[in-house]
């Protein structure tokens, strides 16, 4: 049981440089908390350079399910103050936050952007010296920090040592000892500290069995469980983990994974395997999606199943490869020449990456059409907590695509040219029109098969409508609105094409006012819906470019400033 007055949750930020082991430290904390039966969400936010440069992990630990990181940090672990400055837009530090940092740092906290209002304890340790002395390497600074924090907060000792032990299995005996010595040194260094407020950790009453997984891992595992036995991809942030995961798993399942020479080849290899009846997919990010668009159109023209995952990042062009955004909706919906209908799904949270990957394979096979599955850096690389049984694990033999026919007695002739039902080229306008209908009809077979996520009141004063990763913050905004006495509801559309217009319209008609929430500059979902449906008279678009996850405070401010929810009462008496 948590003690009276203990916070319902705890938020921890870790900053350092690439190679400092920031993510490892975050994972060890997250895994041990999850092993203790707590829910954890962990964002990984990197600088623009992918390798090297600054790196941060942001954890939120709670007794209830959490799907995004918190607005403010209660605890901050700093390997290097200089790196904090580069994350000032992402890390918001609570005034009373506990900070553990290095006493050997040349940059002062103030220079690094620690807000002047910060009045919490700042504990500094000779991180490097302790790491060298006990861990035999400067690299062990993250272990010293782990020891320091876990000592101060009494961090699930049993679970932490089990997690550490498992993690160290890949190290040799000596490195194992050194790392554990560094952890112990960190713990001892702060053992005497006894002043100031310590955030008290919530503990679980009855520990549920939970696991931690990223959206990319969940997506890949669901693909395997859905019978995917072929993947071709090209390394691209933040989708590479899917390729790497499939590369480890596919050979043992009798499948094939290829790192292609380019994004176009990856799409074509995938299409070719699909032509042979093998369930196949490719995964990429925005720049790769643009290169694949000709192949996606070919799949639609030839009536072949094709699954392409787009893990979105900040665009256009190279943009900010490591940061999250939702700006590829237009590309997914319309990114091809000609009228090129396709099925477009967008995952709302980590577990949804698995759910929709399963749907993607089912729909591609049933509809003989290209399926684009949209994910986002935040979901793809961030870790969320799921019930232990929530990770797809089926590796039964794959059924292949239905109606596979190449190599059977019936001749198959396919072409990207307009064609008749035998694959013979055509160039008359009437046939072209008829075939356009047919291609749309293939996609329309998917209509209604992936319902939107609906929460809160159906008949509402305030309706929040979103897609993809804006789901988690919208849900919290929904709860906030309800807490302030506003009848609010929300809808998260997961199948963007074919759009179930009737269902969405029926929901829209019951909202007195509407806010469409999405993380892109141009309001792509807003424009899409406006072009197809009747939006309420009071409709607002809450949007901004990506680069950092949503904060609940952003939504709160928007809703308050537009008079949609009342301001919070400053003091409750």
């Amino acid at each position: 049981m948590s003690s009276p007055g203990s916070p319902p949750e705890l938020s921890i930020g870790i900053v350092g440089s690439g190679g400092d082991g920031v993510v490892l430290l975050g994972e060890l904390l997250a895994q041990s908390a999850v092993a203790a039966g707590l829910y954890c969400y962990m964002d990984k936010v990197f600088g623009p350079q992918i390798r090297g440069g600054e790196s941060s992990a942001i954890l939120r630990i709670s007794r209830e399910e959490v799907l995004r990181s918190a607005d403010e940090l209660d605890v901050l672990l700093v390997l290097q103050w200089a790196d904090l400055a580069r994350f000032s837009d992402v890390l918001s530090i609570a005034g009373n936050a506990l900070i553990i940092c290095s006493s050997e740092d040349e940059t002062s906290p103030a220079d690094a952007g620690l807000p002047a209002g910060h009045h919490g304890p700042v504990l500094s340790l000779p991180l490097k010296q302790l790491a060298l002395e006990h861990g035999r390497s400067k690299q062990a600074r993250n272990m010293v920090l782990l020891g320091a924090l876990s000592g101060l907060l009494d961090w699930y000792p049993e679970q932490l040592s089990a997690v550490l032990e498992r993690r160290m299995q890949r190290y040799d005996e000596r490195s194992r000892e050194n790392n554990l010595a560094a952890v112990a040194a960190g713990r001892d260094a702060l053992a005497g500290w006894q002043e100031g407020p310590l955030p008290v950790l919530p503990t679980a009453d009855a520990a549920p069995e939970l696991v931690l997984a990223s959206g990319n891992e969940l997506l890949a595992r669901a693909a395997l469980a859905s019978g995917c036995r072929f993947m071709a991809g090209y390394p691209i942030t933040p989708a590479s983990e899917i390729l790497e995961y499939m590369n480890r798993r596919l050979p043992a399942l009798g499948g094939t994974c290829i790192q292609a020479e380019d994004e176009i080849a990856a799409a074509c290899l995938t299409l070719g395997a699909g032509l042979g009846g093998v369930r196949s997919m490719s995964a990429t990010s925005g720049p790769g999606m643009t290169l694949k668009s000709e192949t996606i159109a070919l799949a639609g023209m030839a009536g072949l199943p094709l699954v392409v995952v787009d893990v979105q990042r900040c665009g256009p062009s190279t943009g900010i490869p490591t940061r999250t955004e939702q700006a590829d909706l237009n590309l997914a919906l319309h990114g091809a020449h000609g009228d090129s209908p396709r099925i477009v799904l967008a995952a709302a949270h980590q577990a949804d990456c698995a759910e929709l990957a399963t749907q993607a394979f089912e729909l591609a096979g049933r509809c003989h059409a290209p399926v684009i599955l949209l994910s986002e850096q935040q979901l793809a690389q961030g870790l969320a907590t799921l019930p232990a049984g929530g990770i797809p694990d089926n590796t039964e033999p794959s059924p292949g695509w239905p109606e596979r026919s190449i190599g059977s007695a019936v001749q198959v002739q396919l072409t990207g040219l307009e064609h008749d039902d035998k694959g013979r080229p055509l160039s008359d306008a009437a046939s072209h029109e008829a075939n356009a209908l047919l291609r749309q009809a293939r996609v329309d077979k998917a209509l209604g098969s992936v319902p939107a996520l609906q929460h809160g009141a159906l008949e509402a004063e305030l309706g929040l409508l979103c897609w993809g990763g804006s789901y988690s913050v919208s849900r919290e905004a929904l709860a906030l609105a309800a807490a302030r006495g506003v009848t609010a509801g929300m809808l998260c559309i997961r199948m963007l094409s074919p759009l179930d217009g009737d269902a969405v319209q029926a929901w829209l008609d019951r909202q007195q006012s509407l806010v469409i929430v999405e993380m892109n500059h141009s309001g792509q979902l807003h424009d899409y819906l406006r072009s197809r449906l009747d939006l309420p008279e009071i409709t607002m678009s809450l949007r901004r470019s990506g680069g950092r996850p949503w904060r609940l405070a952003e939504l709160e401010e928007f809703l308050v400033s537009h008079g949609l929810i009342p301001q919070a009462l400053e003091a409750r008496s």
Binding site: A265, G274, V278, Q413
Partner: protein, 250 residues
């Protein structure tokens, strides 16, 4: 009725009179039936261009895909269905220009598929622009100036990439074409056959056949040892004519 007609369907090709691709189609039909293949165990994958309509004129399975991408599609298919004979029939624009990147990596991956390039040294479908195999100095009907860029030598390129089977044929020499096609199809790795398949309409007129007949020289008649990569390199450095036959076989 020839045995080849088992493989050939009734569709009339769109090719112009005198097009070398007719010979290639005939040769392929003869080669496949000669090997005793069931047309339904053969898949022809093509890109875009005059030559890429070829799959549609056969009783094999076929996919006339998009420009330049026949090789990765064929590789994906072969990996998925190893029991099928997968043959890419494409043009010089497809393989040496827009899809050139895939050639190098197909050689590296070495899937047991066969590549027949129908090399006419011109973009015929778009009516006469220069291709990567058009010799420098050629005056194209669509251009103000003769071709400035040097041309790709497909055989040198493939030898440098390390391809395990490299051969060249001339479409009008049907018997030799069939023989080389069969060797390429039977080769257990990635095999490459460049087929000189003239486009008299847009390059060289009907006189090009005469010229090719005069300038081609058969490697095997000349005693070239295809197992010897050094001999292949030497021969390409100082060619006596346009080589026909197996240049290299690992």
């Amino acid at each position: 009725m020839s045995t080849a007609s088992l493989f050939r369907n009734a569709t009339e090709p769109v090719w112009c009179d005198g097009c070398g691709d007719f010979h290639v189609l005939d040769g392929l039909c003869t080669a496949i039936t000669g090997l005793g293949r069931d047309p339904r165990e053969v898949v022809l994958i093509s890109g875009i261009g005059c030559s890429s309509r070829l799959p549609g004129y056969t009783n094999a399975h076929g996919f006339n895909s998009i420009h330049g991408r026949a090789l990765p599609i064929a590789t994906g298919l072969k990996l998925a269905r190893p029991e099928l004979d997968v043959i890419v029939t494409a043009g010089d624009g497809d393989i040496f220009s827009i899809g050139a990147a895939h050639l190098m990596h197909s050689v590296r991956r070495n899937p047991p598929i066969t590549l027949f390039v129908m090399d006419n040294g011109v973009y015929g479908l778009t009516k006469g622009q220069q291709s990567p195999t058009t010799p420098a100095g050629t005056q194209m009907r669509t251009a103000a100036q003769p071709v400035q860029e040097s041309s790709v030598n497909p055989l040198s390129l493939m030898l440098s990439l390390g391809c395990g089977f490299i051969a060249q044929a001339y479409s009008a020499d049907q018997a030799r074409l069939v023989e080389l096609m069969q060797q390429a199809i039977e080769y257990p790795g990635f095999s490459f056959l460049n087929i000189l398949s003239p486009c008299p309409v847009f390059r060289g007129g009907m006189g090009i056949y005469k010229e090719l007949r005069r300038s081609t020289t058969d490697l095997q008649q000349d005693g070239h040892d295809p197992q010897d990569p050094r001999a292949a390199a030497t021969l390409l450095a100082d060619p006596a004519g346009i080589p026909v036959g197996v240049l290299y076989r690992r």
